[in-house]
Assembly symmetry: C2
Homo-oligomer: 262 residues x 2
């Protein structure tokens, strides 16, 4: 009988936003999640219960039975714990999920390694639909590239190979498109709150701004006072932001940058 | 026979992004668009042809037959042309569509005036669906508020009264949620282009970032290296932006602001 990729038992090292979403999605696809490690017992236990896995808060108790170890820790913690994570694991495949860490970080610690990077914004409070998420795969050996592609392929049709250099660039671009964009929403929500207006009123505008760049290049989709550097409006806005100097500085700098691009 | 609101003949003064989208939407709802004025003959003619209207590039030739004049010019041009736009128009209702200009700008120029502000990002190359767009209405007289609500109500279910002060705040928040957000997309597209990666790969992330704030407050939806101020990642990114000092400055300032909010 042919074994299917879902027969690959998985250990998750980390129980944060990404690990939580990924473990639940793989569990639903029929993968056996062997164990969850987290420094925080509550995080380890909460996720473990949802995916019928064991859990531990002790790196030395991490199961050696799995075929695939998905390490999804904060970058600094990952690099620090690397020796302990890899200790004694010479047979299975170890991957990390960080956009910004090169694959070479594994060198000298273990034999089979790679990167499994789903480019998306994950929060524990919201389950995402993996079908649309691009996965960027890298592994030391060709066989492990194929294995990771097969694992990602159970979740998404958008599975690509990418070098560490490409992944780093993607991650930087993602910080602009996602993290910085979301912070613009946060700043708007704060302003509206100050004026006793509900944030919800912005949702159609947010949706259209996102939909628009499916059709037009972002440069061509740009609107607003900064395009034509409308000083009346801009000075008016800056005056409204006078008591929040960081907002004022952000407004000035981005408006200047928009104008320079047009 | 009862007259319906669609029997209100309309003149558009301006043929830019907003006027184009609004005129076409009202035309499709059965309004008679009497005439289009634009300083640029091509813009006036192009829009006029699409909505079966006359057109002119001469302010003195603007029809006096309409019941509603929708003025949608750049803010500076509007204020400059106000005396000519209002000359001889003492019967009909005149409105502007600018988020940032108070209704009081009309005072002393004419008797019946107001504001008709659809809060959305408009481009000529893309037709938007008005159903979801919030309209913010203001008029000097109660009857004209009702008339404008009825006109907006043919396009959208989200029609609100708002004071000039509220509209100004909404417009400022919209600059953050839409204009600044779109510029983040532009900067990401530039970065990806530099690394020979396609912008399209960002679309699922852009969509999820927008969808997320339908469920979570933007503050709770925030992810990325700046939340926990991950210096490894941030310094790495800043090094990648070394040759584009404006991007580097934007990256620093927004990351600092994100961190201060978390």
């Amino acid at each position: 009988m042919k074994r299917s990729v879902e027969d690959t038992p998985i250990v998750f090292i980390g129980a944060g936003n990404l690990a939580t979403n990924l473990a639940k999605a793989l569990y639903r696809k029929g993968f056996r999640i062997e164990q969850i490690y987290s420094r925080t017992e509550e995080a380890a236990y909460t996720l473990a219960r949802e995916v019928e896995a064991g859990f531990t808060t002790d790196l030395q108790e991490i199961s050696e039975e799995a075929k695939l170890y998905i390490v999804s820790l904060k970058d600094a913690a990952f690099v620090e714990l690397l020796p302990q994570i890899t200790a004694g694991k010479h047979g299975p495949l170890l991957v990390h999920t960080a956009g910004s860490i090169p694959m070479s970080v594994w060198e000298g610690y273990t034999e089979r390694y790679g990167v499994f990077y789903p480019m998306q914004t994950f929060s524990k409070q919201r389950e995402v639909d993996f079908e649309e998420i691009p996965f960027f795969i890298e592994a030391k050996s060709h066989e492990d590239v194929e294995l990771l592609k097969a694992v990602a392929g159970t979740l998404s049709e958008k599975v690509y190979e990418a070098t560490s250099e490409q992944r780093k660039s993607l991650h930087l671009a993602a910080v602009f498109t996602c993290n910085f964009t979301n912070h613009m929403y946060t700043l708007a929500a704060e302003l509206l709150n100050k004026y006793h207006l509900p944030f919800d009123v912005m949702l159609p505008l947010i949706d259209e701004t996102a939909r628009k760049v499916h059709e037009l290049a972002p440069h061509d989709a740009q609107t607003g006072p900064a395009v034509r550097y409308d000083e009346n409006v801009i000075n008016n806005h800056l005056a409204m932001l006078e008591d929040t100097s960081d907002l004022q500085e952000i407004y000035k700098l981005i408006s200047k940058s928009i104008h320079e691009h047009h």
